[in-house]
């Protein structure tokens, strides 16, 4: 096989013959669904502030509610359908973060609550925590140097 066509030539051929995603359609869908989820978040935030909570506390409670919404929609087997349609519009918001934790928790229940749910809950979201927290430590150190 290698005598007739090189690996590079074959990979170019594969690139040519592989159908591409409908980029424009996908971007519109991601934009609209992502934007709508943010509107929901804004609405919840405003509602909580109007109940008398401070801005910072309201922000935290909004986060918790959005995480719950994502978790709940995952639990009733709906979030994957949203994801199929919206792509990044459902992955990027914090509801997607919740989905990436709840979906393995559900999936690996068959391996038990300790070795399944507990151990494997973070296999998708883990990197977000590792890199996010590490970045915040480095940012904090820089900030310390800056304000000294």
């Amino acid at each position: 096989m290698q005598k007739v066509i090189t690996n590079e030539e074959y990979l170019e051929l594969v690139e040519k013959k592989s159908p591409k995603s409908k980029l424009f359609r996908n971007i519109i869908r991601a934009y609209v669904v992502g934007g709508l989820i943010c509107i929901v978040g804004q609405f919840i935030n405003n509602l909580i502030v109007s109940q008398g909570m401070s801005k910072d506390s309201a922000s935290s409670v909004t986060t918790m509610i959005m995480v719950f919404i994502g978790a709940f929609l995952t639990g009733i087997n709906v979030y994957d359908e949203i994801g199929r349609f919206a792509g990044a519009g459902s992955i990027i918001p914090i509801t997607g973060f919740a989905n990436s934790i709840v979906s393995p928790a559900m999936e690996f229940k068959s391996e038990g609550y300790v070795t399944g749910v507990g151990a494997r809950m973070f296999f998708i979201a883990g990197p977000v925590l590792v890199f996010g927290i590490s970045a915040s430590v480095i940012a904090g150190i820089f900030h310390y140097i800056l304000i000294r």
């Binding site: 096989m1 007739v4 592989s18 995603s21 979906s103």
Partner: protein, 339 residues
């Protein structure tokens, strides 16, 4: 000098060896496809009353074996060997399915090429004088495969256009030195072929070189041409891989296009069922062979088939290490009448 060998990768089966019975059990999605009427059982749901996807897959294999043996008219303990494999780690779907059968068991791993691999080895066992009746059987399950190789089912992710849908299906056959056909007459065993495709969402592209290589080697070893066949069918290249296989065989001087099809594009309605590039999985070629191809051969629609099941050889570890996906394809010549 091994007398049944021909050329580099081919062996001839000397004594008439027939497929005497087949069975196929599929999931709901496959039961809504164009080949639905050819399957013995369509499950109501993917768990089939079991507690996990893995247990459901084993149940599918067990029930398929029962049906194959019942249809053969022979008793279960006349089966000399079970040759089986699946996609799960350490092929546990197969080993657990058959633990109560008492039949000598060979577990094999060829990824999605397992149907042809098991038939090849089973045929060699019989023609080598080591067995009279062998059951060759394999399965795949969409949910257990996604869980092991890709993502949890409830994760909101998007499938790429080149991705394929793992078939939930178990299929197999009893082959025997009794019987009146269809006959397995010739086997071309594939070699591992890797042209550097790293995209695990484009398995068709990873496997197409192996398919083309085995088909061409079969023709070169035997001197046969596409005119000796009514149908050359690959296991699960999908629409992208099928296109690539056509191209690769053409540029090497073997144009098979007008006789060529692929189980991956036959089992689902490519327009109506969300299957992107088509079906994949050990079960794909197995249920298509056991259901559609076998029955259409018995009816005489096809008299000479080259069945080329294709497999993508990789693991989650190899993919994470940046390794490419190798391919393998095994070809089996099936004829209604031995010439």
């Amino acid at each position: 000098m091994a007398s049944k060998r021909k050329g580099k990768q081919t062996v001839y089966i000397q004594n008439p060896l027939s497929i005497i019975s087949t069975a196929a059990i599929v999931g709901p999605k496959e039961g809504k496809g164009p080949l639905a009427s050819y399957f013995d059982v369509v499950m109501d749901d993917d768990k089939w009353g079991e507690k996990s996807w893995e247990k459901a897959e084993s149940k599918m294999l067990k029930e398929t074996l029962n049906k194959i043996v019942n249809k053969s008219g022979k008793p279960m303990d006349s089966v000399n060997y079970l040759v089986s494999g699946d996609l799960l780690n350490q092929c546990t779907a197969s080993s657990f399915a058959f633990r109560d059968t008492g039949i000598p068991f060979f577990g094999v791993y060829g990824a999605c090429s397992t149907m042809a691999e098991s038939l090849s080895l089973g045929a060699m066992l019989i023609d080598g004088g080591f067995a009279d009746d062998v059951v060759c059987i394999t399965s795949s399950h969409f949910c257990s495969a996604e869980k092991q190789f890709r993502y949890p089912l409830e994760l909101g992710s998007q499938r790429t256009p080149t991705s394929q849908w793992t078939v939930t299906g178990a299929g197999g056959a009893m082959i025997s030195n009794t019987g009146i056909g269809p006959y397995i007459s010739c086997i071309t065993t594939g070699k591992v072929v890797d042209m550097g495709v790293k995209d695990t969402n484009n398995m068709g592209a990873a496997m197409a070189p192996a398919a083309a290589d085995t088909i061409i080697t079969h023709f070169k070893d035997t001197g046969l041409t596409k005119d000796d066949y009514d149908l050359i069918v690959t296991g699960d290249l999908g629409s992208v891989g099928k296109d690539l296989c056509n191209h690769l065989t053409k540029i090497q001087g073997f144009d098979i296009e007008d006789k060529y099809n692929d189980c991956g594009v036959m089992i689902f309605d490519m327009q109506k069922q969300d299957a992107h590039s088509g079906a994949s999985g050990c079960g794909c070629s197995a249920v298509t062979l056991a259901g559609y191809l076998y029955h259409e051969m018995k009816k005489g629609k096809y008299n000479n088939i080259l069945f080329v099941a294709t497999g993508a050889l990789m693991s989650t570890t190899s993919a994470q290490q940046g390794e490419s996906v190798s391919g393998i394809a095994h070809a089996i010549r099936i004829q209604n009448k031995l010439s």
